[in-house]
């Protein structure tokens, strides 16, 4: 883990691949990122995305959650098997929580909404490139919701693993502040901890989200769709 805005692994600009089914949007993201990153390719569908990413091996793939032909989730799953070093950042306008959680659980390192500013997007890409995770307020809200639904009282006790199935109070606090729109820097100041500690809390949440085996985590999404 390293500080936000840290440089990409090779010391240069992070190499970015854009997957989105709207050409206009790809162009928009490209121009927002400007020359801060190197865009190595783009795709509008699952199959070509998998082929092109395997070819160009970018540092970060900016991934639309909703893709024809299996969704962003399919791309992440396919790449994880063959090229685990490629990292994914989900980028989307407005999605159902279950789709976002599914992409994260498949292995994406973060989720930001399309309302994000260009500078913030560049920063998020950089952070994902060095292995950190990026939580938007919305993702923080989804995660809080998912783990609240997983409270030990309502759980199937046999598979209950407090290490993976529960957030620590500190992690919840950090997530709440993210949901309130605080940056990592502001969170660090608010909680009297270092930015590095904030990042490690967020990474730990991401790990729990991806590794927790409880089927409620997926069930939760289905229930939420009904409300």
């Amino acid at each position: 883990m390293s500080a936000p805005g840290a440089r990409a692994p090779d010391g240069g600009r992070p190499r970015v691949f854009i997957v989105d089914d709207h050409g206009l949007f790809r162009t928009g993201v490209r121009s927002e990122l400007g020359d801060q990153v190197e865009v190595v390719g783009e795709a509008g569908d699952v199959e070509p995305a998998i082929a092109l990413i395997s070819e160009s091996l970018p540092d970060v793939v900016l991934l639309d959650v909703h893709l024809p032909g299996g969704g962003g989730q399919a791309v992440v799953t396919a790449m994880k098997a063959t090229h685990p070093q490629v990292r994914f950042l989900a980028l989307s306008a407005s999605d159902a929580p279950q789709d976002v959680i599914a992409v994260i659980r498949a292995g994406a390192r973060g989720y930001v909404t399309k309302t994000i500013s260009g500078a913030e997007l560049v920063d998020a890409v950089r952070r994902v490139a060095v292995g950190d995770s990026v939580f938007s307020p919305r993702l923080a809200g989804f995660v809080l919701d998912a783990f609240a639904a997983l409270s030990p009282a309502s759980a199937d006790r046999p598979s209950f693993d407090p290490e993976l199935d529960q957030l620590t109070p500190r992690e919840r606090e950090v997530l709440r502040l993210i949901a309130r729109g605080y940056t990592y820097k502001e969170i660090a100041r608010e909680l009297y901890i270092s930015i590095k500690t904030v990042e490690s809390h967020v990474s730990s949440v991401l790990r729990k989200l991806q590794l927790s085996t409880r089927h409620q985590l997926t069930q939760w999404a289905a229930e939420r769709r009904l409300t």
């Binding site: 309302t115 307020p137 919305r138 809200g141 809080l144 919701d145 949901a179 409300t227």
Partner: protein, 396 residues
């Protein structure tokens, strides 16, 4: 009443009356009590229900009658203890029954009968409540009498005989009640009046907050968009509709109106409305959800006001709302990265924060805090306990 009985039995009214008076004198009051009971139970000529059937629903009247009868019985028992046993045995029970019955009749009789009773009772002190000096005189003499009798019983009572001193104590207590009773009554009345005034003031404050949120906000918007006639017409029309539905259908403006709405849906509604009206992006995140009650509607109304404030004054491009529903409370945060402000420098006539947010929250047991730094933005934090509605209602 005598007329009623006469009509039923077929005898002459005057004859029935004479029989009653004679019987009363001969029986030592028992017949008078029977007369009162009959007055209660037999429907009057032309009336379809007896006074007693109406009195069944008069809880206060029954309590009053029972209380008076009990008081009278106590007095009679004391009298018999003091040696005037004839009073208790001959007059006592009929008297108690008559008094209780008369109270019920007085409270529940048709208007013309009440008028008659009032006219008859007029000369009696205290009941009419018009002659103040006479009332005070009566109270003072009653107090002296009770106090004197009580002290006499206490002082002359035999140490081994418990009943006499006990009767004395009761008489002294009665004297205290006679002296202080009206004062206590007045205090109780004042309390009621004061509570009513406070409720009225709160209603007024709530109304002012509503008017501010709807009408004043719209007027401010219209001033800002004075050069866009189409927009102005649209705003005015929407405001007119809202105001009409408030005044004539009781749908409060800014309230989330329909029942069955939830916190998350309410936050989404705020997001959509504010984005549509002001053209500034609102990011909304909600965790958990629950149905709205009055308190949570107030929370959302305050949140809406805070959001509109942020959109109007902060200059920020995005305003974030985060709402979290927890088992005990609902928290809501409205944050912008705008210019911030100095809370002390807000003019007194700008009621937004003070009235719509702070007061609205505290009236319902919630709280609101504002954190603002010039140049860095503002965050309004709102917290409302859940289930506070029942507590609030039981207190009122």
């Amino acid at each position: 009443m005598a007329a009623g009985l006469a009509a039923r039995t077929g005898f002459d009214v005057t004859a029935v009356r004479i029989v009653f008076v004679l019987a009363t004198l001969l029986s030592g009051g028992t017949v008078a009590a029977a007369y009162v009971l009959a007055w209660l139970l037999v429907p009057a000529d032309g009336a379809d229900a007896s006074i007693a059937s109406r009195a069944q629903t008069d809880g206060r009247g029954i309590a009053l009658a029972a209380g008076l009868a009990a008081l009278l019985i106590v007095v009679l028992i004391i009298a018999s203890v003091l040696g005037a046993g004839w009073l208790g045995s001959t007059l006592g029970w009929p008297l108690a029954i008559s008094v209780a019955g008369l109270v019920l009749i007085w409270r529940n009789a048709p208007a013309d009968e009440q008028q008659m009773i009032r006219r008859l009772a007029g000369p009696l002190p205290g009941l009419t409540g018009e002659n103040r000096r006479f009332r005070i005189g009566a109270r003072v003499s009653a107090t002296c009498l009770l106090l004197g009798g009580g002290l006499l019983a206490l002082l002359t009572g035999h140490p081994r005989d418990l009943l006499r001193p006990l009767g004395g104590v009761v008489l002294v207590l009665a004297a205290i009640v006679v002296v202080l009773g009206p004062w206590w009554l007045r205090i109780a009345r004042d309390l009621v009046v004061e509570r009513r005034a406070r409720v009225r003031a709160e209603e007024r404050a709530e109304m002012a907050a509503r008017v501010h949120d709807s009408v004043l906000q719209t007027l401010a918007l219209i001033q800002r968009r004075a050069d866009e006639p189409q927009q102005v017409i649209q705003l005015a029309r929407a405001q007119e509709r809202e105001l009409r539905s408030w005044l004539f259908d009781g749908v409060a403006p800014g309230s989330m109106g329909e029942t069955g709405l939830t916190v998350a849906a309410g936050v989404r509604l705020i997001q959509q409305e504010v984005e549509a009206q002001h053209g500034v992006a609102v990011e909304a995140v909600t965790v958990g959800d629950c149905e709205l009650d009055d308190n949570l509607s107030a929370l959302l109304a305050a949140a809406r006001e805070a959001t509109v404030n942020a959109v109007k004054w902060s200059g920020a491009e995005v305003v974030s709302i985060f709402a979290e529903v927890e088992p005990m409370e609902v928290s809501l945060f409205v944050r912008d990265r705008g210019r911030g402000f100095d809370p002390e420098a807000v003019p007194a006539d700008r009621k937004g924060l003070a009235e719509s947010v702070h007061a609205r929250m505290s009236r319902r047991g919630g709280s609101a805090t504002v954190r603002t730094v010039r140049g860095e933005g503002t965050e309004v934090s709102l917290t409302m306990p859940r289930g506070a509605g029942e507590r609030q209602q039981s207190r009122a």
